[in-house]
Subunit: 466 residues, 2 copies
């Protein structure tokens, strides 16, 4: 069952995810059909190419002329999205293969994941057909695929198009987790590139996506959610091939015995032992995440931060409490508080009033009103050769409103010499703009809590050691 | 240094936090002064009583007539907020005591927390003075205190008044962490009751606040953030006295050696060993939290959920992936998957189509379009005597938009027979209203991720065992 990775397979994958023309087989005007939601998604995404609804029972779908079949379209089709019942899938696949389309997103369920040998058999037959033609098929049993830079929302969820376009790409075995991560990303203002639901992985598996995304100039970080992998060796091999080109982070669920049972029914594979996977993944340079939120935090961190040259961290804050919580995490994860050099200490003593806490961790609270002082302290710490990474933690408090806007230009121009992770938190609307500006410029990663910021620094340290 | 807990001390504490008249000593028109921000906060909170600015250098502050001194007000004052420099604090304290005010919020810093013996001495003198008069003093070195039900924002941060009024009360040793938790609560739509910053704890310590909040009819859950406690026995004793009346949750930072150093400088106390505290806390019925976010998640959960009668959990979802991640957490925390009884299985088999995953965990995805089926499944599981607690995890996906609105009435009327924790997540704006309605009615706790929902169920289990 080894998939062949010919150049043309990868070329087809690329084309199908940046298509000129998309056909929706099973497009529907009926709002209770997924074929309706898929059409809405394509519209909502603002797809700039041609959309062709295929439905033998309709003359038009959502205002577009509909065709009786794929072959009736009489023009080249790059991507075919399939939402017909499973009994019709083999004939659609055959037709698509005959027309030499680039590839398919097979949303239809009722394959290997169901509690019936017929599902397994259908999947096996469909796979043989697709493989014999070298046809990339994402799915079956998937929500679909999104390419935000191409305006392609080939899913049954129009709201994926609400996402900010970015360069973190997600490959998920589970549609539920892909939706979860997308909505967390939206809430936290995180930009995404591709969001791909692999489902039962007919001919497109994690290994294929790793190769594709490693080559994709619009992707900086590859984030994956896995339950079971039929062919872990192929994923390890693919990760090894592209090692060092961009960070790969994997959140692997299915530790529990119960989880195995779910996974078997969910996307038709055994989840297997998480510890075994983690060891193999680490060796292949795949960084493990332990939760959905951590997957997102680490993707954002690895996207922005250079490697951590050592474990010595400086903690600068606008209040002492957040420092304490971050220190607890840093220490538990084996990182240490940096000892400042003489010139750093001198500079900080000049800039902070007497009696303030001026050694690492530094409480910059007393300098709230002076952007110059805060910039001077952060700058001195960045230059200190005894400091490997920096956390800056500041909760909004009315009197310190100007602290973040005052640091924006500084952060944008500091050159990312060392990893810098922040937690600037304000009520809605106050620091949204400066934070969005920083995020856009790749200058900074700002995480939701001090503990998450410290945890991400620890993740970066482990990643830097690998 | 044992504080005396006379009835009048608690009575004064109650009065000062639900005051009729508030004086601000150090009120200012200068936007760079905390005395300006405190006045803004009182206005923003819509304080319904009388506000009296005291400033010998001004005739009026923000449009209100200002007085030269506290005694010049010539009327009873319940709460005095102090924002003058530390050198003036003793005379203000003496004046307040002579006028028999109910209590003070002493925002001014420069006491035990500074790197100078004069600070320690000032604190000690001020404490003797306040204690000799039985005067509750919150602070010094605090952001202040908020009572959302009384429209009282006695802090330097007007945005605390953006919080939704609720019945989770927070007592924090750190201003930074109180701000963090308040903004997380605002973002996550969580209602808060009192938010109190204890700072250096002149005469009001955690023990006093535990007694006060245990008696407070507007507080359902007491959440605390601690670094060090000068007198842990008094806190343990207070928690023991009020044990069983309402849940108490404590997030204790300061595990690390570095943390001890910060805490000494931060609010003038040693952080001490977290493990020791946790043992003592558990014995007193204080539940530990391990992060800011978990403190909030547990407070919301304990507020709503009855005790968990056993470790057998049902997991119902709209997608299989979230189930897997929740199962991993449940298993790691010692909870188990419930075995459904015969009638539950029969009911689920009737309501879900064949081939769907119908044992625990149940994937209700195939029933998305049928509110009746989803209600039937959840109802059957609630009635199953083999089920102790229930997780319901559903990510929005366009086609399932009506699932949550369809469950709202059901959830509101189900009578909270067993703990039920959900993770319903949608893009902004889609499920906000039904979720807010459920939160208001105390019917449900909806957490941000499936992993957090499972973690909160595990916390509830530990809490139920204590």
């Amino acid at each position: 069952m080894q998939t062949e990775y010919s150049e043309s397979f990868q070329g087809r994958l690329r084309s199908m995810l940046s298509p000129q023309t998309v056909a929706v087989v099973g497009a529907s005007n009926n709002t209770e059909k997924l074929g309706y939601h898929v059409m809405k998604s394509l519209f909502r995404g603002g797809f700039p190419g041609r959309i062709i609804p295929v439905n033998p029972g309709s003359d038009s779908v959502l205002g577009l002329p509909a065709f009786q079949s794929l072959s009736a379209c009489e023009q080249p089709v790059d991507l075919v999205i399939v939402v017909v019942p499973s009994g019709l899938v083999l004939s659609v696949l055959q037709e698509a293969a005959d027309l030499d389309v680039r590839g398919l997103v097979l949303i239809t369920a009722g394959f290997k994941e169901i509690d019936d040998p017929a599902g397994e058999k259908l999947q096996s037959t469909a796979r043989e057909l697709a493989r014999s033609k070298g046809l990339p098929v994402i799915g079956p049993n998937t929500f679909g695929a999104v390419n935000l830079r191409a305006g392609l929302n080939a899913t049954f969820t129009p709201e994926f198009s609400n996402l900010k376009a970015g360069d973190i790409s997600l490959v998920s075995q589970s549609g539920g987790i892909a939706h979860l991560l997308a909505f967390l990303a939206e809430n936290q203002g995180v930009g995404m590139g591709k969001v791909i639901g692999l489902g039962n992985r007919l001919t497109v598996d994690f290994a294929d996506m790793v190769r594709y995304l490693a080559d994709d100039p619009e992707t900086s970080v590859i984030a994956m959610y896995l339950e079971g992998v039929d062919n872990p060796r192929s994923l390890i091999a693919a990760a090894g091939e592209v090692r060092g080109r961009k960070p790969i982070i994997a959140y692997k669920a299915g530790d529990s015995g119960g989880g195995d049972q779910v996974s078997r029914s969910h996307t038709g594979s055994l989840a297997g032992n998480k510890a075994l996977y983690q060891g193999a993944f680490r060796q292949a340079g795949i960084h493990p995440a332990r939760s959905s939120q951590e997957l997102l935090d680490l993707a954002r961190t690895f996207r922005v931060c250079p490697r951590l040259g050592g474990p010595r961290i400086a903690v600068l804050s606008g209040q002492a409490g957040p420092n304490m919580t971050a220190l607890d995490v840093l220490e538990a994860e084996g990182l240490t508080l940096a000892q400042f050099g003489r010139s750093t200490r001198k500079k900080i003593h000049e800039l902070l009033p007497p009696l303030a806490l001026r050694d690492n961790p530094v409480d910059m609270g007393p300098a709230w009103y002076s952007t110059e002082a805060v910039q001077g302290i952060v700058g001195a710490v960045l230059e200190d050769s005894g400091v490997d990474g920096i956390l800056v933690l500041t909760m909004y408090a009315s009197a310190n409103r100007e602290v973040l806007p005052g640091l924006t230009d500084f952060f944008l121009n500091w050159g990312q010499k060392k990893p810098l992770i922040t937690c600037f938190l304000s009520p809605k609307g106050i620091w949204d703009e400066p934070l969005a500006a920083l995020e856009e410029q790749k200058g900074i990663v700002n995480l939701p809590t001090p503990e998450q910021a410290a945890q991400a620094m620890a993740g970066l340290w482990k990643h830097s050691l690998s």
